[in-house]
Symmetry: C2
Amino acid sequence: MKRLGDFLNMESFDLALLEEVWSEQDFQHLRQKLLPTYPAAHYFRSGIIGSGLCVFSKHPIQEFTQHVYTLNGYPYMIHHGDWFCGKAVGLLVLHLSGLVLNVYVTHLHAEYNRQKDIYLTHRVAQAWELAQFIHHTSKKADVVLLCGDLNLHPKDLGCRLLKEWTGLHDAYLETRDFKGSEEGCTMVPENCYVNQRELEPFPFGIRIDYVLYKAVSGFYISCKTLRTTTGHDPHSGSPLSDHEALMATLCVRHSPPQHTPSPTHGPEGSQLISVLKEAWRELDLGVAQARWWATFASYVIGLGLLLLAFLCALAAGGGVREVAILLWTPSVGLLLGAGAVYLFHMQEAKGLSGARAELQHVLGRAREAQDSGPESQPALLLGQQEGDGTEEQ
Amino acid sequence: MKRLGDFLNMESFDLALLEEVWSEQDFQHLRQKLLPTYPAAHYFRSGIIGSGLCVFSKHPIQEFTQHVYTLNGYPYMIHHGDWFCGKAVGLLVLHLSGLVLNVYVTHLHAEYNRQKDIYLTHRVAQAWELAQFIHHTSKKADVVLLCGDLNLHPKDLGCRLLKEWTGLHDAYLETRDFKGSEEGCTMVPENCYVNQRELEPFPFGIRIDYVLYKAVSGFYISCKTLRTTTGHDPHSGSPLSDHEALMATLCVRHSPPQHTPSPTHGPEGSQLISVLKEAWRELDLGVAQARWWATFASYVIGLGLLLLAFLCALAAGGGVREVAILLWTPSVGLLLGAGAVYLFHMQEAKGLSGARAELQHVLGRAREAQDSGPESQPALLLGQQEGDGTEEQ
């Protein structure tokens, strides 16, 4: 923390967005240290441990708020701990040189096993919630900036969904001046805090931290330079974190509306539809799985109740009373445990089907726009990108 | 449900917003029945039981999303059940005659005992979250409409906070043409489903359901007529619900910016500051109380661990082995229960202090605006009302 504070003070960024600052004391320590350079700061509190998100800004923060993700892993996966953090997205509104800048900082659920990722559905649901939160809260912003640890590779469903639905651009793909780790990776094998075995399939490392941005029509935003650290502290030896830092210089200019950069890849409408479909299928699978677990738990509850009744009868009837009393504890435990699992997965199913319904609605609108001919198609996308969309009337 | 469907079909509103529709099957039944009159519908899914919120619209719904409240009562208050609902605010975006209309529907935590209201802090936190959600998602809306069961009396802190921070107006106070129950009450003693004893201190009943609205500068919104049911089905005998229905006819006109109705009461800035202060104090009290419970639970955990160690020693040492084994179950139960209480109240403290930090920031800005003279004061309020606020630069 001491060295991180020194580094941030020396670099004197306009804005520094941090994740995984789990201790509020660490934040308070940093805040004191950074006060002269970054007069504005905020720590986003949520969950049991905390979201870990905080921000330091050279410019006054006009407004802030946060949205805690509805789904965030499983409470019984204690060794993974994500559920206890209450992962969230934080929003800051800044007014810079007459521009309204909405800055989002987030940290999505970690991926512990890429081959058998039990958190995939939750991460897709989080990416959708994040995209919807940005979509609905940035309608009057001139510039939107999203930074954070998405725990998503660039081609992963969640990342594509987020970019397609919000229209955000990836600083790494857009900049002409990149310096740092190979392929822009933010978890690299050179970093001594990184589990080398997990990175085995990826010789250069993985890119899961992002700087994403967009500007509304009338403004043009570009990434002048993008730098990453490369597994070491930029000055002394050991790295400041297990993830590499991303440092971007962004440039915002006024521009006639038509100069807004057109999306880089292919026919946009069909791409949006295809990624929405894919996400819908993933959430649908998740709903089915959550319901399966809830049903399974309800059978266990039934079984536990039967067992308990049987034990009570045994104890009352005498004979093997001691055995009955001994077995009473585990069967009550089973009952309570199964009850908790049932409630949790019912809530998971509700959360996932809520997100699925939102996705389905957007999918329906995108299809309508596509069916009504290529003229109206850019309108939906422009509308979506600018948070308008009156064309659908 | 059958009679409710008939009623909604016959009245043929533009928009019908319902709360406490706990069963999705009921919603699906209504949806089928209302399809010809209300082609668009949505059910907001959340929590374990569900938010109970749904909407039927004659006009297409362009977009929708939802925000589940961070704090919503206590899971161990099973007989109250609010925690299990996952109470939320639902947002619909409609485009009507070239206007962007943001419609919010919500249901806040119930008040079970007004004299000793253990949910007061949570309801204030929910009112703040609701106000912030509206504030941040309605910045490009021309008209904002909030309907729902707030479980707040008109003068309650949560209600004042919501109205002061969003600039929403109360249809009942604004309309010149009201017909219905005495004083606009929405829970009246005439209703046979209402607990008469709870209403004893309020001879006419209580007003806890609202239609609130505002229009941005350039538009003018007024409530032409407001009607309520009066404890009976409008046609046959028994009422359709324990709450009276609110039916409003709203009129939106273009108007020069200066014709925007000025807030009805006194010096606005100081009123906002005073309600923010009051809410801050309430949340601060809540944080202290949540921390007290967490500390208490941690002591119980320590005690439970000691007891368990003692019982294990007793069992191992022989002698009163049977007693030790018998006591083992309740002490493990105590440990697990206290652990759950500890985690819950830690999360409560985090959630409350998150809301308190947001409040404090807004309070600071409002004070700055007041200090810098009466000229800039309306600017903050106008900015807040219109979701702008560049004047603070």
